[in-house]
Amino acid sequence: MDTTLMQVRNLSKAFGRGHTEVRAVNDVSLDVRRGELILVMGPSGSGKTTLVSMLGTLLKPSAGRIVLDGVDVTRLDEAALPAVRARKIGFVFQAFNLMEALTVEENVLFPAQLAPGGTAGARVRAAGLLERLGLVERRHARPPTLSGGEKQRVAIARALINQPPLILADEPTGNLDSQSGQEVAMILHDVARDADCAVILVTHDPRVEEIADRILWLEDGALRDRRAERHSWVRCPVCGMRVDEWTARHAAEHEGQRVVFCSQRCQERFFEEPTAYAA
């Protein structure tokens, strides 16, 4: 049985024109299967958010196509896309993005009014999700009174309320402490496994790697499947950012040793004053 939910072919996004053109995503192809949790990682500015925005039909690609659940969404009219997002895609954002005036339960039910069937059946599903995510006691609370972990659990419940086949999560653990981050990562893992949902998770958080079925590395707009590759984490000596020394694009010899940098800028700063960083 074909379990492919999403096919991405030769997807590109360029901003600007002529000399100022920047290709944020360059010729990316990808198959996403149901029940799979995919991690998209990469340095800042590598095009992760641009990629996930296109997968979420929020940004029109410059080239390529995205087939979601049998529908080529890149060919759809702009007016048809909100319905696709409401029914086929659940979003989880780094900043939680809950509606401040609504209670937990109302936030969870918010997308239900956008899908066929309305809120009647959704109320039962919302009760189940609140129960499953440990939010029953907080269902009448408003977002400002919730902890970061609780907010993100509400956001996940909201993403799941219409039972979409695809969840797109952009840095869902980015604003959480380590325990809450771990909890949210496990919930997303369970969602992929139990709800037969594909979860695409954009993150910098290495703790999430363990739960991923696949890790894709995006750099300079190009995507690589990284699980098959050797990797070894080291710290950039200038800014301290984690860098995979096998895939790093910026490396140099210093006093007989190979030093890996996260960026060209850090490499330049290192050689301006090596003694400040070499230790």
Binding site: T49, V52, S53, G56, L58, L59, A79, P82, A83, V84, R85, A86, R87, F91, F93, Q94, A95, N97, M99, E100, A101, L102, E106, F110, P111, Q113, L114, A115, R158, D170
Partner: protein, 369 residues
């Protein structure tokens, strides 16, 4: 969507209250202006409404009192009294005149009363006598208070000095205050001896006034006879026509102010919720659903503003009447209907500004947190 909108508005109660108050201020202006004109129009026909006439008879072709001149030979008044169905015919002289007192000048309508024509005189008195004799005048009480004069004071009616012998109630309006003098004094001023201006006809009980008016026109040469309702309606219409442009102009100003306030409020409400709008769009809410929500929001603010304006008007009207007695205010169903119609138009125009903003909100903003 509606729940989200209403709860968001409720969350910003102070802002909502300030907006509604601003809108109410603009609408109060509109409602008060309408009420001033309605009150003035009504007050302009105060004499015609209170005078003891079922039918008004005047020079042929004249149809009203305000800004009109009418001359009818005095003998025709006697002829009118003999028409079958006429119980009494009271002639009055009537003319626009300048009244000077205590250094102030008032343009007034002077009614000249024949001796014994008490019923054609003022219908309510604050002080003194209702019937002026030669060399005497009855003034509106409001005007006497404005100028600080009282009983026994000397005033000039054009070039004739008269003594104030009475202060009447309900006879002042900004457009045409009514003073009462002896018919002989007014005839002297107008050099209109042997003529009257109007004949106030009281019908026999059970008489159809339209039929009686038609009969008078048939039997008395060169006069126009109109039933009281038609005669007063003509004056009201004339007053409204004269004031219509001013009303329209001030309504446009008030409404424009309301549009600016509501549009700014609705715009700032949606601008403040830019991130939430982006989230809503990202989650699949369509523009048209947000437009509808914005429309409801502006309608709500407008409705709230209008309700507050009516409440404020209800409180302010008696206060204004006390503080500024020369203004007569009247809140009619028509004025309320016009205010509501203006409010509806204002709401529609105001919703356009934030709707444009909503259309430009990029759902991608949701990712930027």
């Amino acid at each position: 969507m509606l729940r989200w909108l209403l709860k968001t508005l409720w969350l910003q109660k102070a802002s909502l209250a300030a907006s509604a108050a601003g809108v109410a201020g603009a609408f109060v202006l509109v409602v008060i202006l309408q009420a001033v004109f309605a009150g003035e129009a009504r007050q302009m026909v105060a004499y015609a409404r209170h005078a003891p006439a079922d039918v008004w008879v005047m020079q042929r072709g004249v149809l009203n009192m305000h800004m009109a001149n009418s001359f009818v030979w005095a003998w025709k008044a006697r002829r009118i009294a003999e028409v079958p169905g006429v119980r009494a015919a009271t002639p009055i002289l009537y003319s626009g005149a300048v009244v000077r007192m205590a250094g102030r000048t008032m343009i007034a309508y002077a009614v000249g009363l024949e001796p014994g024509a008490r019923r054609a005189g003022p219908w309510a008195m604050a002080a003194g006598r209702a019937m002026p004799g030669p060399g005497e005048i009855v003034l509106p009480r409001v005007f006497a208070e404005m100028t600080g004069i009282g009983m026994g004071a000397q005033v000039e009616l054009t070039d004739k000095r008269l003594e104030v012998v009475g202060l009447s109630e309900g006879t002042y309006s900004m457009a045409n205050p009514v003073v009462f003098v002896a018919a002989s004094d007014l005839a002297d001023l107008m050099q209109a001896q042997g003529t009257v201006s109007y004949v106030l006809v009281e019908a026999e009980p059970g008489q159809d006034t339209a039929a009686l008016a038609a009969r008078i026109e048939r039997e008395v040469d060169k006069v126009t006879a109109l039933p009281k309702e038609r005669f007063t309606r003509n004056d009201v219409q004339l007053a409204m026509q004269m004031g219509a442009e001013i009303i329209a102009f001030m309504t446009v100003i008030g409404s424009g102010l309301a549009v600016v306030i509501i549009a700014f409020t609705a715009y700032s409400q949606v601008a403040r919720r830019r991130q939430e709008l982006a989230i809503a769009k990202a989650l699949g809410v369509r523009n048209r659903e947000i437009y509808a929500a914005v429309g409801v929001q502006t309608a709500l603010i407008t409705g709230l503003g209008l309700a507050l304006a009516l409440l404020a008007a209800w409180v302010l009207f008696p206060l204004l009447s006390t503080l500024v007695p020369q203004i007569t205010l009247e809140l009619t169903a028509g004025a309320l209907g016009r205010a509501a119609a203006v409010a509806l138009i204002v709401a529609v125009i105001s919703a356009w500004v934030p709707a444009r903003y909503v259309a430009r909100v990029d759902p991608l903003t949701a990712f930027k947190g």
